[in-house]
């Protein structure tokens, strides 16, 4: 979930009203835009806001959050209008970018008044948009430049990796594009996006000064924004047109909410066949019209609302109204509300305006009969028996590692469900048996009183080519007893009692299993099928786990014993 640090003074300034600087009240207000206060420190002027909606990139800045709140707080009604002045820059798109990074959208914001806090805020917004909405710069990436240092028109071109060099942001020497991918931290991080192509994207001005190497890095000279910068060129490149255009709007509007005036850019495309047009003008702050069905709204919300009331609620939510009639409302969706994909998104806004806590909940007595999963009764019976036999139930992770499953159990490695992206070395695969979890548990409790008798009834995951996930889960019961006299006899008594109480005939046969002591173990047979193993744990295993007392254990596959026969 995106989190933003804002200045509370700035927050109030942008809202245009004074609020009660009370944490709970702020939380209530922020909930209208699906956000909450993570931290509020009035003294240091820090308000940390967490935005729960990952599909509302318009909220990821102090400008955006206040823009979203103004109508709810009745500071203004409907959306705020934004204007763009006539184009002052031409951008020529070269052939050859179609398969690399085809789209570019630009705006120029003039007469800005910036300070360090604001610049920091914009950099954070840019970073969040690049990461999340731009899918780690794969889909879109943003560049900001000091417009006064640039000589239009701009050229967006595809060039050979070694033909051009410039000083990238944060460096003091020139690097070629290939060198940037090898040496610059951003090149190393994002290089994979362009590396597969023969040519790389590059943005230059008419004097051949390089603005940036999208989506990797800006130029050190042109791409530096300071509190002295008055006029900014915003540039977004990307692989999908709408997302690129939306990103440009989100950045431009955040700048405009602070100060300044927007000017357009003309984008000249080289290939009508691919781009479907030869000229584009950006940015486009126009609203979209979405038709909202009154009956659908009333039905989904369970509220009897008139078209007029629905329109009023939408205005409160910051939407505009184009037209109302008896059956529908034509809603003006402002350009920054990129989350609106379907009329249900507007219906939710109606509900939020109405107030969730003003809606009366109802509980319908639907004629349904509840039931547990079919295995549950038997699972609970088995657990009850184990408890009755004096064993403590434990709960362990199913994520583990092969050292635990095999090496420390004195077993040969087996194929299990391994993770491609483990987070920590102790959790790299799913367990295929439970006993190692119990040994691990005991190893952490050696200072406590003995006897220690524990069990777990849980799932294990096995490979299985016959299923659509190429694996299946099974229920297993594993039990260990450890104390100075723990023995085969003791654990065999437990298994005998368990099966007797479950009314299951069983037998024991010789087997070899290197986790147990030779001659002191057996496989458990039910219905002529091997369903588990019991025996005395091998001293090698005890050593591995640093257990000081003998231990005896069993593990039974319950799917084979109970559920498949029931």
């Amino acid at each position: 979930m995106p989190t933003i640090d804002v200045s509370y003074i700035e927050f109030e300034t942008l809202l245009g009203i004074k609020l009660d600087a009370d944490l709970n009240k702020l939380d209530d207000i922020l909930s209208l835009v699906k956000s909450e206060v993570k931290l509020f420190n009035r003294q240091d002027d820090v308000l940390t806001i967490e935005i729960k909606d990952t599909n509302r990139p318009d909220l990821w800045s102090v400008e955006g959050v206040t823009r979203g709140l103004r109508s709810y707080l009745k500071i203004e009604s409907g959306p705020r209008d934004y204007f763009v002045d006539d184009p002052i820059v031409d951008v020529n798109v070269d052939f050859g970018l179609e398969k690399i990074r085809p789209y570019i959208c630009c705006s120029i914001i003039k007469d800005l008044k910036l300070d360090d806090t604001k610049i920091k805020g914009f950099m954070h917004l840019q970073e969040k948009l690049d990461q999340t909405y731009g899918r780690s710069r794969q889909k879109t990436s943003i560049g900001l430049y000091d417009f006064d240092l640039i000589t239009p028109p701009l050229n967006y071109v595809a060039v050979a990796p070694n033909d051009y060099s410039f000083i990238p942001l944060g460096f003091d020497n020139e690097l070629t594009l290939s060198e940037i991918l090898e040496k610059h931290p951003k090149g190393i991080e994002y290089g994979h996006i362009v590396k597969k192509n023969a040519n790389y994207p590059l943005l230059l001005d008419s004097k051949q000064k390089i603005l940036s190497f999208p989506p990797i890095i800006n130029s050190n000279d042109l791409g530096k924004i300071t509190d002295q910068t008055r006029n900014i060129l915003v540039e977004v490149t990307g692989t999908m047109y709408q997302t690129t255009a939306n990103t440009l709007n989100l950045v431009s509007l955040a700048l405009l909410d602070q100060s300044g005036k927007a000017y357009a850019a003309i984008i000249n495309y080289p290939d009508e066949h691919f781009y479907k047009k030869t000229i584009d003008e950006t940015p486009n702050f126009n609203y979209r019209i979405v038709n909202l069905d009154i009956n659908y709204t009333k039905k989904l919300l369970g509220l009897d609302l008139s078209p007029k009331k629905i329109a009023d609620l939408l205005l409160t939510a910051g939407m505009g109204i184009e037209k109302i009639n008896n059956t529908s409302v034509d809603v003006r969706v402002p350009c920054y509300r990129v989350d609106v994909m379907h009329q249900v998104d507007l219906i939710e806004d109606v509900a939020i305006s109405f107030g969730y806590n003003n809606i009366k909940p109802i509980w319908r007595d639907l004629p349904t009969t509840g039931s547990m999963r079919s295995e549950q009764d038997l699972i609970d019976l088995v657990r009850e028996l184990m408890v009755g036999l004096g064993f403590q139930e434990t709960l362990n992770y199913t994520l583990t590692n092969s050292e635990t499953l095999f090496k420390k159990m004195n077993c040969k490695q087996q194929k299990v469900i391994e993770l491609l992206n483990p987070k920590i070395i102790t959790m790299t695969c799913l367990r295929n048996w439970i006993l190692p979890s119990l040994m691990n548990f005991l190893s952490q409790n050696q200072s406590l009183e003995f006897p220690q008798k524990i069990f777990e009834l849980g799932t294990v995951t096995l490979l299985d080519n016959s299923t659509e996930t190429l694996s299946r889960d099974e229920f297993k019961l594993a039990t260990v007893t450890t104390h100075s006299n723990a023995s085969f006899t003791e654990i065999k008594s437990v298994v005998t009692s368990l099966f007797m109480n479950l009314g299951i005939d069983w037998s024991i046969e010789n087997v070899s299993h290197s986790s147990f002591i030779r001659g002191r173990l057996g496989k458990i047979i039910v219905n002529k099928k091997e369903v588990g193993v019991l025996g005395e744990i091998h001293p090698k295993v005890l050593e591995e786990w640093k257990l000081e007392n003998p231990a005896a254990a069993f593990e039974i596959n319950l799917n084979n014993v109970l559920f498949f026969n029931s």
Binding site: W363, R364, L395, L420
Partner: protein
Amino acid sequence: MTTVDKISRVFEITKLGIETLRNSNLIQDKITQLTPNLILSGKWKNFQLQEYNIQAPVTNVWCGKKHPYMRFLEEVRTKLVTLGFNEMTGSSVELSFFNFDALYTPQDHPAREIFGIYQVKDPQFGNINKYQSTLQKVKATHENGWKTGSTGWDYNYSKKEARRLILRGHGTCLSARTLLSKNFEVPCKYFSIARCYRPEVVDKTHLSEFNQVEGIVVDEKLTLRDLLGVLARFAIEVAGADEVRFKPDYFPFTEPSVELSAFKKGYGWIEFGGSGIFRPEVTMPLDVDVPVIAWGLGIDRLFMMKSGLTDIREIFSQDLDWLRRKEVI
């Protein structure tokens, strides 16, 4: 080290002394342990049973017990069944298709990247042949909205990505499977208690393996008011709440979405659940044409409060002493 000299002294009572004591009827032989032999032979009558110091400390007896969290889940399960819910089950390894695609989470969504979900190393891709026609509809919905009335997500959908095997990140994949299975009659109610996995940095408030209680309610007449009603009922029945409050929430697969907070005396407010009405982009490709309420309960937090735990890792506590001493009420 200090050394102590050991001195033993032996005192004996003379034969005459014993005789005198016996005849005096004042003192009998005292015994500590009553034996079967003494009982059967009636000889116990000749002896006096030693009185104990009842204040003396005794050794601990540790009884077998169910795990407190498992017992808590049993209670939750029973309550949900009483409320008319049927339990759904499924496997820990899941197709991305059910965990994400069918729930209208785009394939380039950050939650699907390696830091958002555990991917299986080998085999990497599962089998989705059974769901070809649904796959087509889901693909069209993601790309351009299909006939749902949505704009879609504006990207190129990959059928291969839908087959990617992952460890399920939430229990909602089971609801998607249930809706697709058509093995239900309207109205119906389902729930699941599912072990879920996410590559989180494990700390006081995050586990990378945890349980989720989730489910759906399906009926033609359902509205947002019913959704609030279901949540309020859970807050009262499951959390024993005195008061409930609703806030806007976000999930890619529901709209409207609601967060539930429950107030309980002695505990304060806790965020107890999230829910919403499935988006048409979820239900229509699954051929479901009635409203579906999807809900999830934050039972971990409720359990922690009830058990006085402050660190979520203690749910999977490896501390036998804590389990032994934990009271059952």
